[in-house]
Amino acid sequence: MDESDAVVVAQVCAGDSDAFRVLVERHSRMVFRLAYRLTGNQQDAEDVVQETFLRAYRRLKRFESRASFGTWIHRIAANCAMDLLRQRPRSHVLAPLGAPETAGAADTPDEGAIGPDRWAESAEIRMKLGHALDELTPCERTAFMLRHFEGRSLQEIGQALGLRTSATKHSIFRAVQKMRRALEPLVTS
């Protein structure tokens, strides 16, 4: 565990709730990135960040200082995001990540820079990807994102989501199958 995180956790547990600010400011960007990938929009991602730290605060005394605070908060964030995905209607997941209306124009490729054909292809891939993500269950989406973007091992994902390794694998397999169905026609050489 990061020594400074350990010190801050001890301070908060000793009653200095303002010290929690250090942990929020140190880890909220990482939590946001995960939350955004899982929820697909900024507003929901920020809600997940807030809920993640509120849950973490309540459970701080259960946190074992041998572990990494970053890993621990990451796990809580994955669960918070999954709860949100379970609660909202599926149509909310449709927005393709990185599209102008969700992520800001600065995050989409510049048409002038890459050429209109490539831009159109990229936009189509993102649209298909958005639809493919909408087909994933919250569990499949979370497991896939944790593996693909966050580089978490199957064991870590299983621990985070309360799944056995075999169930974790199958969630990822199903997610990849759905991605392949949606994207292969576009990426076939």
Binding site: A103, D107, M179, V187
Partner: protein
């Protein structure tokens, strides 16, 4: 199967996914197979292209004031939860809570004597306000639904461990059971059948948790969690809580509108 036969068998699509993510137990065998089998190599390259396309997902970088803004949100949330937190809800406030329940019972009793029972809740809302007994019930039950939602959410989101101690959560749930029973009965009596039905479902879950052993194995805990999640009880409680709050607000606005 001999080593030679094993080296010649084609990996499945799932094997290739594991191989791609560095999770295949037999990575060397798959690698040597891909080096010699054109069909499998093409399949693997196609998988790689698909997963590369997923990289087009872009996460916007938060603005410069993001951390500070998030801290302000968390701080507000902490203040709110301190006021409505577990300790405040379940320990020092027990007397106040018991008082509120007593008020509810008396009010419901008086309401039953003085107000005609509505034909349906819909008709009552259509008239622009809640009948007296239902209105008192709604005021009291919102808090109960919020507490129940928090208790179940806390339990469902507990960190998995080989041995789970849920005695704290059980204590909260045990406090909720008698109140839930009272609200359910009152809801039936004042014709709030939707609410009564939800409270009935909620009561089953609460009773099950209250009667579980206080220390659970990981599998036992998973079983409880899956039962809670499969019934969607947390979501139902949250939706109904929002619905009740909206009705309260509509009822509060009703007299003002009529007076205008």
């Amino acid at each position: 199967m001999t080593g030679r036969q094993k080296a010649m068998s084609h990996p499945t699509g799932d094997d290739l996914v594991l191989y791609h993510y560095g999770e295949a137990g037999d990575a060397e065998r798959i690698a040597s197979h891909l080096a010699t089998c054109g069909a499998c190599r093409a399949s693997y390259q196609q998988l790689q292209r698909t997963l590369t396309a997923v990289e087009t997902l872009v996460v916007p970088e938060p603005d410069e004031g993001f951390e500070s803004r998030m801290w302000q949100r968390v701080k507000r949330g902490l203040a709110l939860r301190t006021r409505h937190g577990w300790l405040a809800l379940f320990r020092p406030a027990r007397l106040a809570f018991a008082g509120a329940v007593a008020v509810l019972v008396i009010a419901a009793f008086l309401a039953g004597r003085n107000w005609p029972r509505p034909a349906t809740p819909t008709q009552a809302v259509a008239r622009g306000g809640e009948p007296g007994g239902a209105r008192v019930l709604l005021v009291a039950v919102v808090d109960h639904l919020e507490r129940s939602q928090r208790a179940l959410t806390e339990l469902v989101n507990a960190e998995p461990a080989a041995s789970m101690d849920i005695s704290a959560e059980q204590g909260w749930v045990r406090d909720l059971v008698p109140a839930n029973r009272l609200y359910r009965q009152t809801a039936s009596e004042v014709g709030e059948m939707g609410l009564a039905s939800l409270l009935d479902d909620l009561e089953r879950v609460l009773v099950e948790i209250a009667h579980s052993p206080s220390t659970l194995s990981s599998d036992e805990f998973d079983s409880i969690r899956q039962r809670i999640e499969s019934q969607g009880i947390i979501f139902k409680v949250r939706v109904l809580g929002s619905d009740v709050r909206e009705r309260q607000q509509a009822a509060a606005l009703g007299p003002a509108r009529r007076g205008a």
